[in-house]
């Protein structure tokens, strides 16, 4: 199978994630969509690593996973804090700062 197909799949998953960020209101789901985008990147990295025959891409994929985990910690903390204050996890409710 042409390894380029994996890259196309990665691009599709990335796009789904990006569209998800735009259309979903719940902050948790928005955040999950961002994680989906990161995973699409990982797929691209390992596919390219295979195509180039070196391991750099695979190593990067591990780093990205760790970073994503750290991001989850910080992100959930912030979203929780807002949820406790507003009793809502909708990103559209947070629009005091504008214009």
């Amino acid at each position: 199978m042409d390894p380029m197909n994996y890259i196309v799949l990665a691009a599709i998953v990335f796009t789904i994630g990006a569209v998800g960020v735009l259309v979903r209101r719940n902050a948790i789901i928005v955040f999950m969509c961002v994680e989906l985008m990161l995973n699409a990147c990982n797929l691209a990295f390992v596919s390219f690593a295979r195509m180039h025959g070196n391991i750099e891409g695979q190593v990067i994929a591990f780093f990205v996973m760790v970073v994503a985990a750290a991001e989850v910690v910080v992100g959930l903390a912030i979203i929780m804090q807002v949820f406790r204050t507003r009793r809502s996890a909708s990103v559209d409710d947070a629009n005091l700062l504008r214009h």
Partner: protein, 554 residues
């Protein structure tokens, strides 16, 4: 992570040889990192009442030590050449790195002084961020005098990320640095003591948009990796220079997509239009000392990284990315300047001002030359001092004694009469933002515009000059309001600057004037010294064959 020969589908070879690392060149980063880790331990082991003093001392010492080490490292660089790379060429220690790191550290020290400023036991940060705003629990914590001393290690980690960001010599290191810098800042944004709803909202927006942009950045890296088979800047540069030899066959579009998406991620961090929309909201909502840190340190770090990526990794594709930078620079300079005209909140205004200034620095990036690099570096340092000073002034103007900051510009009317020194300092900072001669802002603008003109980007400079005329209008409007208008009905209360804040404002004033009147010594060191290159190389303008040679990358 050395790039391996392109033996298709060969089993990866992992050497057991540990890499040789020159730790002396990494010393400032290590010091800051160690201090951050110790800071976390301090939270666990030092009794509550003494934590603030210990944390502040630790952080201040670490930053000052890192700055001293940064200066010392200048002597370690080989004479004549650009610099060295460390740790399997993942970090570059060269002149731009040292300049950016030194600038970031100075900005971080100034911001740290603002962060540490206390009045009647109150800092700019929430007593207990976990409590719901307005709840009994929050009141109890306020009365008990709780404070978040975790702020200090968080700041140290953010500074570590900032130091790494412009020094990274491969995309993996750069991505890690980006996250190490951003994650603590997301948290710090949500910790304001007053107007906590604003602060929390700023944190959510910054976090979601930041994560969104870093996903673009990462996907861009994946594309570039797909093209070149490596994330090392030198390898990418060489692959492009060799006309794609060794690249993925038919990978040209991958490179272009990669440049675009990596660009998106970096332009988001510098806040260029149309990736700027987070800036006003976040700058307004975040605690002002953190805003000061972001407006100075983060901006410097982000531009350092942007310059390195576009000058080294994509230095061979200047013709490809230049039109894109043109468009972004024009949009940034024009739109942000126009929007700023009707802003009513001082922090939002300074945020838009920061966006416009990012546009001015982008004109130097477009130049893709030694002058462009020097101009951008000077501009960033000059702007950093001025902006930290301006935010320091903002922290002092309150709705009432012990109240929130009075951001409404209209309420600043007549401030020049009640607090002439403070208003005078702010006026100086605003004049520097406007680029009036004899301030550092003028020299900075002159340097970046000169670089752009030399590179043939005269129309861009014309746009820049027009945009700076618009910005001058709203800066001067504030000055007029402060000095020539009758004081407003609800006059804000101006706090006496504490020793720390006073020091920051003083340093800002002195730096703004000194860099404006005697910029020679600094500019001297930034521009490649005549005779730095070989005799043949000097026939090329600036003495360099390509932009990549301005940096150490091998």
């Amino acid at each position: 992570m050395n790039p391996l020969p392109h033996t298709a589908l060969a089993a990866p070879v992992i050497t057991t040889q540990p890499p040789q690392i020159d730790y002396a060149l990494l010393a400032p980063l290590l010091v800051v990192f160690a201090a951050g880790v110790i800071g976390v331990l301090v939270e666990a082991f030092v009794p509550r009442p003494r934590r603030r003093a210990v944390q502040f001392t630790l952080a201040a010492l670490a930053l000052v030590a890192a700055f001293v080490l940064t200066v010392v490292r200048v002597a370690l660089l080989p004479a004549g050449g650009a610099g060295l790379t460390v740790a399997s060429a993942s970090i570059a220690v060269d002149r731009p790195t040292l300049f950016f790191q030194g600038t970031i550290l100075v900005m971080a020290i100034a911001s740290l002084l603002l962060i540490a400023e206390h009045r009647h036991g109150e800092s700019a940060f929430a007593a207990q961020a976990a409590t719901v705003p307005g709840s009994e629990e929050e009141r109890a914590h306020v009365l008990a005098g709780s404070q978040h001393t975790e702020v200090y290690p968080l700041v140290l980690f953010a500074v570590l990320g900032m130091l790494m960001f412009p020094a990274s010599n491969d995309f993996l290191t750069m991505f890690i640095a980006l996250e190490v810098m951003s994650l603590p800042l997301y948290l710090l944004c949500g910790l304001a003591r007053r107007r906590r709803l604003f602060s929390q909202e700023a944190a959510v927006k910054y976090f979601l948009l930041g994560a969104f942009s870093s996903a673009f950045f990462l996907f861009g890296i994946a594309m570039v990796y797909g093209y070149a088979g490596s994330v090392n800047f030198a390898v990418i540069h060489d692959t492009v220079a060799a006309g794609g030899a060794g690249a993925l066959p038919g990978g040209g579009p991958l490179l272009l997509l990669g440049i675009a998406l990596v660009g998106v991620g970096l332009l988001f961090k510098v806040g260029a239009v149309p990736f700027h929309s987070w800036k006003p909201d976040v700058y307004q909502g975040a605690p002002t000392p953190i805003t000061a840190l972001m407006a100075s340190g983060t901006l410097v770090a982000a531009f350092g990284a942007l310059l390195r990526v576009f000058y080294v990794a994509f230095g061979g594709s200047v013709a490809e990315w230049r039109p894109m930078m043109w468009v972004v620079a024009v949009l940034t300079m024009v739109l942000a300047a126009v929007v700023a005209v009707t802003q009513r909140d001082i922090k939002r205004l300074l945020a838009y001002s920061s966006v416009v200034h990012a546009g001015f620095v982008l004109t130097a990036v477009v130049a893709a030359s030694a002058e462009g690099l020097a101009g951008a570096m000077f501009y960033l340092a000059a702007y950093g001092f001025t902006t930290v000073g301006a935010f320091a002034v903002v922290t002092l103007v309150r709705v009432h004694e012990g109240g929130a900051e009075s951001g409404d510009i209209a309420s600043w009317a007549g401030l020049g009469r009640t607090s002439p020194v403070l208003a005078g300092s702010l006026a100086l900072f605003l004049l520097a933002f406007a680029g009036i001669p004899l301030t550092s802002g003028f020299i900075g603008k002159f340097a970046v515009f000169e670089a752009a003109v030399s590179a043939g980007a005269t129309p861009l400079v014309v746009v820049g000059v027009l945009s700076s005329a618009v910005t001058a209008f709203f800066y001067v409007r504030i000055i007029v309001l402060m000095f020539f208008a009758e004081p407003a009905e609800a006059r804000p209360r101006v706090l006496r600057p504490g020793r720390l804040t006073g020091a920051v404002i003083g340093v800002g004033v002195v730096a703004t004037l000194v860099l404006g009147v005697f910029p020679g010594p600094v500019l001297d060191r930034l521009s490649p010294a005549p005779g730095a290159g070989t005799a043949e190389a000097q026939s090329v303008p600036g003495g360099f064959a390509t932009t990549a040679d301005l940096f150490a990358n091998r």
